[in-house]
Structure formats: structure tokens, C-alpha cells
């Protein structure tokens, strides 16, 4: 029974089911092919992996029924598009401003970043809109901490101007999971070394939530170095964070996000009347560990797969 709660399986099952339905529907009524336009903000590797995963997943489900058009830069979307996928906040802004009558899935940005304010666009829109955010639910970070560092009880968090918006959720999650939360704020004027100095003395682990100020180029290096010198492990939000010196991180890969976007599209096409699932965080995720950092901090830890299973199991139980 518990296995069915695993989101991965659930989605796989849904996809399989939908595939059959679609194949049947399109053959029977010979509807014109769907036009799906994907607008990319950039053409970097991350975006490319996202698109690849999205296309693969859609083709697998819809076969030739959907025409997928990928555009990057300023090119306007096809007017005839059934649906737009805006990847990255700049692309999302353009689409929201220009195409109020085409359904939009916006993704690849943080819910909490200061500029990403969807409410400004929503009232003017005629067609539905949904979002797949990049942010992991805060509970997931805490569960990673529990799984990786079972003895850690005091969690330090360094809020910046945008991650501060997660404080309510984080406090609630920390209380639920019986962590003591030590919170410190960092503004653009602050010296990250000084701010950390007092925090590091009071905590077992430092959690770094996505925030452009906290993880700015000038802050990441001293942040990781000071924590390491004091023997405090850092939990981050990307693979690069782990590579740079964090103990572990939980994040979703562009492929996972591409697959989830495909699922959302299929959900939309399948629904009657057509509607989107609500804005959501990434369902599937990955965990990375830096074994060298673990070793030199004197930590014996489960491997990445075991940690993933742990966090998954936590989520299953709490759902």
C-alpha cells in the first residue's frame, strides 16, 4: 500500500493511463495536432536537458499528435499554440504580458525570488496559468538533515531578502520534526563572515535555502569556508553547492522538472473542461553528498540512494 504513495510510481501509472486514453481519443476523432510552444530564457545545458526530457515524455504519451516548438530569446510565440511553456522568469514575464489568452505553464524560477510576482499578471489573464517552482518544500531539507545527521537537533538558517519568505513554513516544519531553529538574517550590507560567526557557535548544521543574496558569488565562498573551519556541515540546494563543499543537498534536476511539466501538460489536455493542476513544487528530487567533506568532518553517513529512500519514506508517511 505504501508503495502507491511514492510519487514516482503514481506519476508513471498516471502517464501510462493517459497515454492509452489519448491514443484512443485522437485516433477516433482525428482532431488537429496540438501546438505546444516552449519558450526558453536561455539555451544553456540546464534548459536543454529540461526540453529534452519534456519532449521525450510528451512524445511517449502523445505520439505524433502534438507538435512541439522550441524557441529561445525574444521570438514571439505562435498565435495558434494550444499551450505555452515558459521556461525561466524572463520568458514567463514575456509570455504573461503578451499572450493573455493562451494557457501557460511557467517554470524554472523560485517562488520566493523578489521579482517573481505572478499576482501582477494573473488578473489580466483570460486563459489558465500554473507554475512549477524550482524550490523544494522546506520539509524536504529537514528530512535530509534527519536522515544524514540523526544527532543534529540545532539547525541554523541564514535568511536573505527572498528566502526570508519561507520562515513561517520552515518554523512550522522544524517544530513538527522537533528541530531547534536558529535564524539569522543577512542583508546586502552585511558581512557574511561576521553574521555567521555568532550563528555557527550555536548550531549543529547550517541550512542554506536558495537566495540570490545569501548565495551570491561574494558570499558562497566565505560561507562554506567559515562553516567548514568550525566543523559545521552545510546542507544546500544544488549539486554545485555540494561540489563546492557543502555536505549534502536536495534538488530537482532539469530532467525531473521536464518530466513533471510533461505530466502537467497531459493533465491539462485530459481534463474537461481543461484546467491546470495548481502551482506546485518539484515532486521528484535527487540527493547529492560530498563524501570527502563527510570524511573530514568525521561523519559516517548513508549513501545518496539510502538518503533518498529515507526522505521519500518520510514524505510517504506524512502524506
Amino acid at each position: 500500500m505504501r508503495n502507491f504513495n511514492f510519487n514516482q510510481l503514481k506519476y508513471a501509472a498516471t502517464l501510462a493511463l493517459l497515454s492509452c486514453t489519448f491514443a484512443a481519443t485522437f485516433t477516433a476523432f482525428g482532431r488537429p495536432p496540438l501546438q505546444i510552444s516552449v519558450l526558453l530564457t536561455q539555451n544553456t545545458d540546464a534548459y536543454q536537458s529540461f526540453v529534452d526530457a519534456l519532449q521525450t515524455q510528451l512524445r511517449r504519451t502523445l505520439g505524433d499528435q502534438a507538435q512541439i516548438q522550441v524557441q529561445s530569446g525574444e521570438t514571439p510565440a505562435e498565435d495558434a499554440a494550444t499551450l505555452l511553456v515558459a521556461v525561466g522568469w524572463p520568458a514567463a514575464q514575456r509570455v504573461l504580458r503578451r499572450d493573455p489568452s493562451i494557457p501557460v505553464i511557467a517554470t524554472f524560477f523560485s517562488q520566493y525570488s523578489i521579482t517573481a510576482d505572478l499576482t501582477r499578471y494573473e488578473p489580466q489573464r483570460l486563459a489558465p496559468l500554473t507554475v512549477l517552482y524550482l524550490d523544494q518544500p522546506v520539509e524536504r531539507y529537514l528530512r535530509l538533515i534527519r536522515a544524514a545527521l540523526p544527532h543534529a537537533t540545532r539547525v541554523g538558517v541564514l535568511y536573505g531578502p527572498s528566502s526570508r519568505k519561507q520562515s513561517t513554513a520552515l518554523r512550522a516544519a522544524a517544530q513538527r520534526d522537533r528541530f531547534t531553529l536558529k535564524e539569522v538574517e543577512l542583508t546586502a550590507q552585511d558581512n557574511v563572515v561576521r553574521v555567521l560567526d555568532s550563528l555557527l557557535a550555536m548550531i549543529d548544521v547550517l541550512l542554506v535555502l536558495p537566495d540570490p543574496e545569501v548565495s551570491s558569488d561574494k558570499n558562497v565562498y566565505p560561507l562554506l569556508l567559515s562553516s567548514y573551519r568550525r566543523g559545521i556541515p552545510v546542507i544546500g540546494f544544488s549539486k554545485a553547492y555540494v561540489h563546492a563543499g557543502a555536505l549534502a543537498a536536495v534538488y530537482s534536476t532539469p530532467q525531473q522538472l521536464g518530466q513533471q511539466t510533461a505530466t502537467m501538460i497531459i493533465h491539462f489536455l485530459q481534463s474537461n473542461p481543461r484546467h491546470f493542476p495548481p502551482p506546485q513544487p518539484p515532486v521528484d528530487f535527487q540527493i547529492s553528498v560530498n563524501p570527502s567533506v563527510a570524511r573530514s568532518l568525521g561523519l559516517t553517513m548513508p549513501d545518496e540512494q539510502a538518503l533518498y529512500q529515507h526522505v521519500r519514506a518520510f514524505e510517504a508517511v506524512s502524506r
Binding site: R194, P210, K218, P222, L224, Y228, R230, V293
Partner: protein, 617 residues
């Protein structure tokens, strides 16, 4: 803003910055980290080393602090290698380290790793009885401006200023200091030291770091005895005089870390030390003065690569070359042997490698060695191997069996000086050591206890003996010394706010005492150290240190000294000020009063000082 999720960050924790867990180390290591340095509150670098098991710290004078491990030495510890950020500061002329003039101050140190035992397999010749590796703070750790002043008895007056900034890909730090005090009580021993250092760290890409480091120290040291006619001084008078010393370096380091297990480091540096000695011919100290100047230049380049050649293994290999050039000359003529000039150099090349291999569950084999050649030794090639086997009894307990060999090569003075004072024959052989040890490391988290125990036997052969009780002085090979002992170092976190460190070393030396040099007495039989830290409040910390050294004899111009007891106290309070933070601290050193240090006539007294520090953003 999606950037931060998928972008690269600069590699902070690269393999070289990574601390090898003590349980995996092939040698016994004691670490003094920044926290412990702050807890001690001392102002001179050698004082930090009192907390290392088996170490003895004494002051011949302000100019010549002495740090010794396992004896066999006088004012210069010929058998100890000292590295600062991988840069050797071992003076090839006298064969030892000038602690007083190291271009470094405590404030810029991040941690000190002390290898207790030979380490020539990694660091080459003269890493003989121990190696002290000092790691300075990176620029990124010191953002903002810091001002610090210190004032105390015995003429203590210090000033320290630091400014650092970090930006996207570039960090810098500048620090400057001035230090002054009167030193040993009954000596002509005033010191005045000026220090300037800077470092620049650039990260052109996420996996590459380039650092440029520079530092300079200039000191004016009074030296001599108030009454030179009574001082022990092998037929010479050290009448009061002043010695200027200049010590500087420039260092460049390039580091590439493509992934967590792979690294390439290239490092090159230049250093220059200009020092002076002076003394007076006796005729009950109305004689002629001789001033001797010497200038040492060192050029060094080193490349090393670390990777995982096969599963469960880590391999590091490297190569390096060094040129030491010395110009030494007398500035006053009229002595027997004057005018004297000695220009000499040593070209040195090295190759080394170490394999760390986990060949079975719980077992770790460290195997390596260093091959080196010195032109000073007529191109003779030396090989210093090491094998160590670590067995992890449990996750928290480790047994270590180690065997290694090392060499000490003669200094320029020992090999080449011929003047009114020295009559060296040259062609000296290297001194060798063979070391065996069994170590135990244990962690007991439930009791907050950490243990580091070891027994060892070090056999040295072909000792290089500086024969002081004859004139002219000479260095001759001969004799042996076997050092046997036991060391225990423990740390006990009694509560979350109280920590007790305890160290005890029992050491004996068996030797044939060649040329009537009392090697057998050159180490104290018992050394113990107790260091207690207590956090009274969030902003208030106190520490108490007690160091006991049983009686011993300093060689090469030193004398027998009776046992010494040092009691130190430190209290520091953090201050919160508008737009800045600070610390006010009181330190008392040597609270038990006068102790004989290095010479039975040399008296080190009580010292008290107040330190005030402000950190501005």
C-alpha cells in the same frame, strides 16, 4: 534567478584544505585550531606550541625563542621542519627556525598541524623529529576591517590592523602589525617588530584558484648580557648590542580541482632572510667587535597531483626543486680569519609519492617515500620511506603501526664555515633516524572524550654534533641517540561549555654522548600540560593553562635548567557595538613567577596584558 539552482560555485573545500581525519593519518598529529588559539590569547607563536604533547618552549632571548621536541638541540632546533602554507621557513645557514622573525603574526593563523615524528617521506630532509605546518587564514575569512591594540607590563605594546574584502572572483587581505616588549627579565632583550602581509585570491573558474601571498617582517632586537663577562659564551663576549633582521617572501599558488578526488597544485615561492650576529673578543670585553651579516635567498617550485588510481585508493605524487643561496661576510676586519666571506649554495631536487589504500574493511595502508638530492652533499641521493598501517577497531577507535626513516643534512654553517669562530672540515654525512611507533586513537562521544596515545622508539645514527667546548668550534659526525617514550593527549568535553585538554609525555634518551655532549639530558623526562576552557556566558570565555617541564639540559651554549611551571590565564569578553563587534581580553602569563628558561641565568617573569579588538564591516 534560476541561476543559483544550476550554476557552478567555486570549490571551497578542495582536497588540500580538507583535513585528513586523524584516524587515517600515517603519523601522530596534534592540531591547534583557531578556536584553541583564541582561547589561549597569547601573542607569540611559540607559546601556542606549549599545548602540543611533548613540546618544550623556552626563550634564549626575544631573538631566539626555542621550540623543541624530543631534545637533541640548543637554540636552533636543527631537527624540526616548519612550513607556512607549504613554504619551508627552515634556515639552511644555522639549521633551524627563527621564530621571532617569521613573517607572520598569530592573528593571521588559521590552524597549526604538528606531526609528532619523522615526516621526511612527505617534507624531505630535516623533517626529522617533527614537522610543524602552519596554515594561514584565507582572505575570504577576514572580510572587513579589524583594529587591535594590546598593552601590558614588560613593555608590551602591540598594534594590529587588517583589511579584507571579497568580491565575485577576487578576495584580498592586508594586515600590518607592530609588536614591542622587553623579553627576558635579566637580559638586554628589547624587541621592536614591524610586519606587513598581503594576499590575493582569485577564482577564474569554479574549479581553479590562484593565490598570491606576500609578507615581510623587520625587527630590531637587542641582544646580549648586562654583564657579558659572567655569561657562558665559549670564550666570547655578547656585550649589549642591537641586531636588525629582515625576513620576507612572495608566494604564488595555482590549484585545480576538477572533482572531489582529483587535484593538481603548482606552487612557487621566493624568500629572503637578512640577519646579523655580533660579539666582542674577550680581553674581558674590551676586545674588538665582530659583526657578521648573512643573507639567505630561497627559490622553490613544487608541483603535486592527487587522484584515485583505483578503487579505495588515493595517490599523491609530486616533484620539486629548490635553490638556497647564502652570502655571509664579516663587517669588521682585524680578527684572526678576517676578512671572511662565504658564498655558498645548495641545489636540491625531490620526487615523492604516497599511496593511501583501504585494502580490506577497517584496514588502511599508507605507503610512500621521498627521493632527494642536495648539491651541498656532493649530489648524494637520499631516500626517506614510510609505511603505516591503520586498523579501525570500530568507527571510533583506531590502532596505528608506523615505521619510517628520515635524514637531517648539515647546515651551511656546519658544512662550510671557516673563520675566527668556526673551523669546519666539510664532507659531513647526513644524520639518519629510524622511527617505530604504535598509536591508538579513540573517541567516546557519550563521555565527550577523545584519546590519542602512542609509544615510540626513534634511533638516530651518525649524529651531527656541534662541539661547543673547544675553540674554534666544529661539527663532527658520530655517536647515536635512541629516543624512547610514551605520549598521551586527551580532550574531554565535560559539559557543553567546559573542555579540558590534558597532555603528558614521558621521554628518555639513550646515547653514547659523543664529544661529551649530554644528549641523554637534552629532553625533559616528564612534560605535562593542562588546558581548561570554560564558556561563562555567551559572550564571556575563560581559560586556564598549566605547563610542567621537568629538569633538562639545553645543548650548544645552553645550560642545565631545573623544572619549570607555567600557569596562564585568559579571560575574553565579546562586545556588541553599533555597526561593529569587538573583544576585550585580559591575559596573564607565567602567573607562578620567575622561571629559568634555556639558561639557568635567564629569567622569564610574569606578564599581564590587555587586548582590545574592534571588527568593523
Amino acid at each position: 534567478m534560476e541561476d543559483q539552482f544550476f550554476k557552478d560555485f567555486p570549490i571551497v573545500i578542495s582536497p588540500t584544505h580538507l583535513v585528513q581525519p586523524l584516524a587515517d593519518s600515517p603519523v601522530a598529529v596534534t592540531v591547534i585550531d583557531r578556536e584553541l588559539i583564541d582561547a589561549m590569547g597569547v601573542r607569540q607563536i611559540p607559546d601556542l606550541l606549549r599545548r602540543v604533547v611533548g613540546f618544550v618552549v623556552a626563550y634564549e632571548s626575544n631573538l631566539v625563542p626555542v621550540v623543541s621536541y624530543h631534545g637533541l638541540n640548543g637554540g636552533y632546533t636543527h631537527r624540526m621542519q616548519v612550513l607556512i602554507d607549504g613554504r619551508s621557513v627552515y634556515d639552511p645557514v644555522f639549521g633551524g627556525v627563527h621564530w621571532a622573525t617569521l613573517p607572520l603574526v598569530i592573528e593571521d593563523i588559521e590552524r597549526i598541524e604538528v606531526v609528532r615524528g619523522p615526516n621526511a617521506a612527505t617534507d624531505g630532509a630535516n623533517a626529522f623529529l617533527s614537522t610543524i605546518s602552519i596554515i594561514t587564514r584565507q582572505a575570504a575569512e577576514d572580510r572587513g576591517t579589524t583594529l587591535q591594540t594590546r598593552i601590558g607590563n614588560n613593555g608590551i605594546r602591540d598594534l594590529y590592523v587588517r583589511q579584507g574584502q571579497t568580491s565575485n572572483r577576487l578576495d584580498y587581505r592586508l594586515s600590518a602589525a607592530f609588536q614591542e616588549d622587553q623579553g627576558v627579565k635579566n637580559r638586554y632583550d628589547h624587541q621592536q617588530v614591524y610586519y606587513l602581509a598581503g594576499r590575493l585570491e582569485a577564482r577564474p573558474s569554479a574549479d581553479t584558484q590562484v593565490s598570491a601571498l606576500m609578507g615581510y617582517k623587520k625587527g630590531e632586537f637587542q641582544y646580549g648580557f648586562e654583564d657579558p663577562t659572567t655569561a657562558p659564551s665559549f670564550g666570547l663576549c655578547f656585550s649589549p648590542h642591537t641586531r636588525p633582521i629582515h625576513d620576507g617572501y612572495a608566494q604564488l599558488r595555482w590549484e585545480h580541482n576538477p572533482n572531489a578526488t582529483e587535484q593538481t597544485v603548482f606552487q612557487t615561492y621566493f624568500s629572503e632572510l637578512k640577519a646579523k650576529t655580533a660579539y666582542q673578543q674577550p680581553t674581558v670585553c674590551g676586545g674588538l667587535w665582530d659583526e657578521r651579516t648573512y643573507l639567505v635567498r630561497r627559490y622553490d617550485a613544487d608541483v603535486r597531483r592527487r587522484w584515485t588510481p583505483f578503487e579505495n585508493a588515493r595517490l599523491v605524487v609530486g616533484a620539486g626543486a629548490r635553490l638556497d643561496q647564502v652570502e655571509a661576510f664579516d663587517q669588521v676586519d682585524g680578527f684572526p680569519g678576517s676578512p671572511w666571506r662565504n658564498d655558498v649554495e645548495n641545489q636540491h631536487q625531490r620526487l615523492f609519492g604516497n599511496l593511501e589504500y583501504r585494502f580490506a574493511k577497517g584496514w588502511l595502508l599508507n605507503m610512500g617515500g621521498l627521493l632527494e638530492r642536495h648539491s651541498l652533499m656532493d649530489g648524494e641521493v637520499f631516500f626517506s620511506p614510510r609505511v603505516a598501517l591503520n586498523y579501525h577497531l570500530t568507527d571510533a577507535q583506531t590502532l596505528r603501526f608506523g615505521w619510517s626513516r628520515a635524514v637531517r643534512i648539515p647546515s651551511f654553517l656546519e658544512e662550510t664555515w671557516n673563520n675566527d669562530l668556526w673551523a669546519q672540515k666539510g664532507s659531513l654525512a647526513a644524520e639518519t633516524i629510524e622511527s617505530r611507533e604504535i598509536g591508538y586513537l579513540g573517541q567516546f562521544p557519550d563521555w565527550g572524550l577523545r584519546l590519542d596515545l602512542r609509544i615510540f622508539r626513534n634511533r638516530t645514527r651518525d649524529l651531527l654534533n656541534i662541539v661547543f667546548d673547544q675553540s674554534p668550534l666544529q661539527t663532527l659526525n658520530g655517536g647515536y641517540a635512541t629516543i624512547t617514550g610514551f605520549e598521551a593527549q586527551t580532550q574531554w568535553d565535560i559539559t557543553s561549555t567546559t573542555t579540558l585538554r590534558f597532555a603528558y609525555a614521558f621521554t628518555t634518551i639513550d646515547s653514547d654522548n659523543p664529544f661529551e655532549i649530554h644528549y641523554t639530558n637534552s629532553t625533559p623526562r616528564h612534560i605535562s600540560d593542562l588546558f581548561l576552557t570554560h564558556q561563562l556566558r555567551d559572550d564571556l570565555m575563560a581559560s586556564l593553562g598549566f605547563n610542567y617541564v621537568s629538569n633538562m639540559e639545553w645543548l650548544e651554549g645552553g645550560t642545565p635548567v631545573s623544572s619549570a611551571r607555567y600557569l596562564d590565564f585568559h579571560l575574553a569578553r565579546k562586545l556588541k557595538l553599533p555597526r561593529s563587534t569587538g573583544t576585550i581580553a585580559f591575559t596573564a602569563q607565567n602567573l607562578l613567577g620567575d622561571q629559568a628558561s634555556y639558561l639557568d641565568t635567564n629569567i622569564v617573569g610574569r606578564q599581564f596584558f590587555l587586548t582590545l579588538k574592534f571588527d568593523l564591516d
